[in-house]
């Protein structure tokens, strides 16, 4: 029985790894397609890629879009989530369904709405795209900030700060935010990897006019597969680093909260949540 379980899991891991492995081999192969094994190995695709100004431009575009949108999320969304949780709990009945709504709206539907509303040029399309991404970050951010607030018992923390004479604004900025820092960072990293790899909204709203890394990947794929797999591997390594950071932060949070409260079983809500997978393809 035990052997059987191990066998199934091994098969599953192999199934999941196979496409990634062939992409890796393809990115180092001089030519692959005439025989079963590649005819030779080379680094030239990576060299060619890193010298391609269009690749660097695509990375920069993705980064700009990601950073601008993430900044808006951090300034507008995060304080609002904390505010509702601590001072306006009555609003939560209304707030929660709105914030989780993007899970239920397929990207193509929101993109259609955005395009029908804004193609008249009233608002720059970059802002429209950024706004659309903002909407899709709502569920991630809500879940990670909320779970962080629950961990530290934000309401009582603020009460204590005020009793000790801190003003509401001071307590919010100097006491509450530093305490939910890890939750905010985990949420930001998740949002970062979702924005950085975004394809659907970008392709529909701006398409070739704003070639982000995923759109560049697709264009190169049709011209040179080896180059394209080098892009994929570079991109994956970057995202694995981000994932490793998320895991490390989540573990830090877990350790800290178990020190604070023995009985509180911290659930890694953010990273383990299957719902977060839904927004990817």
């Amino acid at each position: 029985m035990k052997k059987m379980n191990r066998f199934i899991i091994t098969l599953f891991v192999a199934f999941m790894c196979l496409p990634i492995l062939v992409t890796l081999v393809y990115s180092f192969a001089t030519e692959w397609g005439k025989s079963i094994l590649p005819s030779g190995y080379t680094l030239k695709w990576y060299a060619q890629l890193y010298q391609d100004p269009q690749f660097l431009a695509a990375i920069s575009r993705s980064l700009i879009l990601t950073v601008v949108t993430l900044a808006a999320v951090l300034v507008i969304l995060v304080p609002s989530i904390a505010l509702v949780a601590i001072y306006l709990p009555k609003f939560d009945h209304l707030f929660k369904p709105i914030v989780l709504l993007p899970y239920a709206i397929p990207g193509v539907v929101l993109a259609t709405g955005l395009m029908r509303t804004y193609t008249n040029g009233l608002v720059p399309l970059f802002a429209v795209l950024s706004g659309g991404l903002f909407i899709y970050s709502l569920p991630f951010m809500y879940q990670s900030v909320r779970s962080s607030l629950q961990e530290i018992d934000g309401t009582r923390l603020m009460e204590a700060a005020e009793m000790l004479g801190a003003s509401k604004v001071y307590a919010f900025i100097r006491i509450l935010l530093p305490n939910i820092k890890i939750g905010i960072m985990v949420g930001s990293l998740l949002t970062f990897s979702a924005f950085f790899g975004e394809f659907q909204l970008t392709n529909m709203i701006l398409g070739g006019d704003f070639e982000t890394i995923r759109i560049y990947m697709l264009r190169v794929m049709k011209v040179n597969g080896h180059l394209s797999s080098a892009v994929v591997m570079t991109y994956l390594i970057l995202l694995v680093i981000i994932s490793a950071l998320i895991i490390k932060l989540t573990n830090m949070n877990r350790k800290r909260s178990s020190m604070m409260r023995e009985e509180a079983a911290f659930k890694p809500i953010v990273k383990g949540s299957p719902a977060h997978e839904l927004l990817n393809h």
Partner: protein
């Protein structure tokens, strides 16, 4: 004083409200309005909807998406059940590792996934070549750039998603239940028929519906693999809206509305089924 502060706190929510209004509420309302309008968004009729329901060019997209999603969700579900059952019986450390592994691989979807499957199963793909050496022609019964290829590619992301959703239910199945049943003299078969399956059934149904919805909403993988050659709801809506020569935004809007209604209906059915089965267990 208290009242005053409350009002200030509410005022701080205004920027978020503005974003939600500008980029969520207004676009959806305008889209719904235009789905009833003509080319310029004026007038009010059901003509767009009638056109979608009567012309194969449009309703085929729904049919293709529906079947690809059903097949890939079923295949994904069955495979995920084996994996989830095996995973639930591993030790804690292995479970944690596999969950992390699944999260890491979640980034491998869309364009990269489509491309990897082309390397594996495309016209000059690895598997295609291996089979050729064995004297089997893959192309004679399988075409990656068709609905078959799409369904197979979808399975790649359906399985791990299914595992994440199913695994808690399998983990919740106490091994002592099996022992108790055996002690009372029941067979392995009646254990599964009366305890095992009823216990996991709500999760299985719920997971199936989530996988189905996930398949229906998939755009990037399909766009990268087959472009426009297989008509799907998502790619058809996108091409109707994103102005190529065939742009018919009002039809795109109407399709998007129909698509949303379908997705909401699916989620409601899911809720209802869960409700039904949960009561049954009690």
């Amino acid at each position: 004083m208290q009242q005053h502060w409350k009002r200030q706190a509410q005022a701080c929510l205004l920027p978020l409200a503005a974003v939600l209004l500008l980029f969520l509420a207004v676009p959806l309302v305008i889209m719904i309005r235009q789905s009833f309008g003509d080319q310029n968004g004026d007038g009010f009729s059901f003509a767009n909807f009638m056109q979608i329901l009567s012309q194969p060019f449009y309703y085929d997209a729904f049919r293709n998406s529906f079947f690809i999603s059903i097949y890939s969700a079923l295949a994904g579900l069955v495979l995920a059940m084996f994996v989830a059952a095996a995973l639930a019986r591993m030790n804690e450390k292995a479970q944690e590792k596999i969950t992390l592994f699944i999260n890491m691989t979640a980034n491998f979807a869309g364009v990269p996934l489509a491309f990897a499957y082309i390397i594996l199963l495309g016209n000059a793909g690895l598997v295609t070549l291996i089979l050729q050496h064995m004297g089997i022609s893959l192309q004679s019964f399988f075409n990656l750039y068709s609905w078959q290829g799409l369904a197979l590619t979808y399975v790649y992301f359906q399985v791990p998603l299914g595992v994440l959703f199913l695994y808690p239910a399998f983990k919740g199945m106490d091994q002592r239940w099996g022992e108790a049943v055996a002690l009372l003299g029941a067979s392995r078969f009646s254990f599964w028929a009366r305890i095992g399956i009823p216990h996991i059934l709500p999760s299985v149904l719920g997971t199936f519906i989530i996988l189905f919805a996930n398949g229906m909403g998939t755009y990037e993988t399909a766009y990268a693999l087959v472009g426009g050659t297989v008509s799907l709801v998502t790619t058809r809506i996108a091409s109707s809206v994103s102005g190529d020569i065939f742009a018919q935004p009002q039809i795109g809007s109407a399709m998007a509305v129909l698509f949303s209604i379908l997705m909401i209906a699916v989620l409601l059915v899911n809720q209802y089924l869960l409700h039904l089965f949960r009561r049954d267990i009690k």
